[in-house]
Symmetry: C2
Subunit: 245 residues, 2 copies
DNA sequence: GCCGATTTGTCCGTATGTATC
DNA sequence: CGATACATACGGACAAATCGG
């Protein structure tokens, strides 16, 4: 539920772009038009437009207008973009999901994990290993570390459902920033035992940190994906800055 | 050369965060402090801070301050984040680079390529296949399609160097928005012949479109990376919006 | 090539709301 | 409760790029 005016305008324009009201290659109405349409200030319009730009929907052209660069074919596929939980992603793709908890332990961050995760050595964490089944096939191996001080009361039962739902609904903690690194790695023996890799000898690995509304790191996760069910989308834009060499 | 005030402030703060002046976990000076420090308006400061937030350097906390969530270890590795050309990336990682042009043709977009690339069927394009050698090893297979109408005069010689440098310096066209999708695919026979894949039977594939300053699509590229030399970083933040299920 | 209208880009000042402490 | 800090919104001003006459 967006309460901010710029967010409502953003969602409205986004919908209009997605449903083809403003087709690919066309220009949006000028900022002045939008100001009168929505009855707000220029800053508010510009903020909404900035959101569309970040999402790869439009690109502003100085002195000319704001061009739509969104092509409707861009849906489909199993996406891991933005911040969303595994269950959100699965639901969006209409997949039947089962989670099996392989390991659920409480442990202490050692030097190696500290370097990898960003946690401090000696902090107490939950160490959870889970396999995700999509439509019956074991396709994702999730290895999560949650900080006990920020995510207290975790159990194996919760881990079998949605930890994020527990964090946001039960603990009332908001998930705000997520940093991820994507790599491709050799499949380990463990990967081969737990996942249905087919004839792949490697998989897509998403490693990432998650920060709450206080800007505190509370999770480090490594997610290992069977390649067929992995796809990641990204949009980047370059300001003026430096030229190429 | 940043001429915008908010960009200078952004770069200044970014440097300060990177070199530890504002360490991980600490709060930046308040917006009011920064206003007096830099002698500018609140909007300008907020714009600079927004840039830091997008880049994953900081996270604002309502009523409290702006927390630094950048950890210095985050450089390293061969990154493909942001918009930068292959040569930029290689130079940043201090790698010796050689490009070998396998194929350089002029062709016309057919139905299949149109669906995949976003070009219109019938448009004329350059079809370029290149192998990138890093420190002597063939590690990346680039398949580019450049629109002839927007990138005229390409030659195999230019393709052996930096096409982007040609585009920006010679043609004076600016590269602005880039959309990419990352997947992991089985290695093809061609991959095996042209690249040094070791015992990997798959590779990281980056497919993407590039738009110029007019918001026009001028390039579609598929870049196939030997896994050892591929890593992609991303930072995402969630506004308020919807809760998780 | 110039001029003027339109459009986006930058910047400033101010006011009010809301969260934290 | 008051002080501080970030969030939203409005208004105005001028610069810079585009385009048509």
């Amino acid at each position: 539920m967006p309460k901010a005016k710029y967010d409502e305008i953003y969602l409205d324009l986004k919908r209009a772009v997605e449903n083809g009201t403003y087709p690919y290659g066309s220009l949006l109405p000028s900022e002045n038009s939008l100001i009168t349409q929505y009855g707000c200030s220029r800053n508010t319009i510009r903020r909404a437009l900035a959101g569309l730009g970040e999402g790869g929907y439009v690109q502003p052209i100085h002195g000319k207008g704001v061009r739509v660069i969104y092509q409707p074919s861009e849906r489909a596929s199993f996406t891991v973009g933005g911040i969303e939980s595994f269950h959100e992603t699965a639901r969006r793709n209409r997949l039947n999901v089962v989670t099996k908890v392989i390991r659920f332990e409480e442990t202490v961050v050692d030097a190696a994990l500290a370097r990898e995760s960003g946690f401090l050595e000696g902090e107490e964490v939950y160490d959870i290993l889970r396999v995700r089944y999509l439509d019956g096939k074991p396709l994702i191996l999730d290895h999560n570390f949650f900080l006990k001080s920020l995510v207290p009361g975790l159990t194996a039962e919760i881990a079998a459902g949605s930890v994020y739902a527990y964090i946001e609904k039960k603990l009332g903690m908001q998930i705000v920033t997520s940093k991820r690194t994507i790599t491709v790695e050799h499949a380990t023996a463990e990967d081969g035992e737990l996942l249905d890799l087919g004839d792949y000898n490697c998989l897509a690995v998403v490693s990432g940190q998650t920060f709450n509304a206080d800007g505190l790191l509370f999770e480090y996760t490594q997610s290992r994906h069977q390649p067929d069910y992995f796809s990641f989308h990204d949009t980047a834009s370059r300001k003026k800055k430096e030229l190429l060499t």
